[in-house]
């Protein structure tokens, strides 16, 4: 699979974004990507089975929240911060600045 689909944010409903971010695991992924920048799937120590992680990556990608870049056998994940800021100004900043608990 060479090219993965990344939706245009314009077409993503707010409820889809909020749903994708409403899971503690996915919120954690987003925070790690914001803090450390682009990271490979394996670099995120989430304490979950690989298929489960893969599922969450897919939800985030299809919601337009993360971009996935193929590099050899690895997938490099990054936050689509600029796209998100344009579509929903202030949303990600508010979410990323929030204090724990998730």
């Amino acid at each position: 699979m060479r090219n993965l689909h990344h939706p245009t944010l314009k077409n993503v409903p707010l409820s889809v974004i909020l749903h994708a971010l409403s899971d503690p695991v996915r919120l954690q992924i987003v925070r790690v990507l914001d803090k450390h920048g682009e990271s490979c799937c394996g670099g995120l120590e989430l304490g979950l089975a690989k298929p489960t992680q893969s599922h969450h990556f897919k939800v985030l990608r299809e919601a337009g929240i993360i971009a996935v870049r193929v590099e050899g056998t690895q997938r490099c994940l990054s936050l689509r911060k600029a796209d998100l800021d344009k579509r929903f100004p202030g949303l990600m900043d508010a979410i990323l600045k929030a204090k724990s608990p998730l």
Copy 2:
């Protein structure tokens, strides 16, 4: 039932707030309350059976997003905007300003 429980926002995890807001029906309720101010349950024309509406009101109340005031046989709903702004600055503004689709 005289006094309904309203959680202290400080104790509500972000994921709970986002989950409550991730349903299009509940997003619609929040938008109506923001636009029209305090409204009674019956005043929101949601096109859903009453038990279903009641369910969504409960989810929003238990997430700390709306306040419910008992007035006779009616329940008056309002957005806990100030509390939300304090706990998650900028979050509700970003959500309320978002363009359709929900």
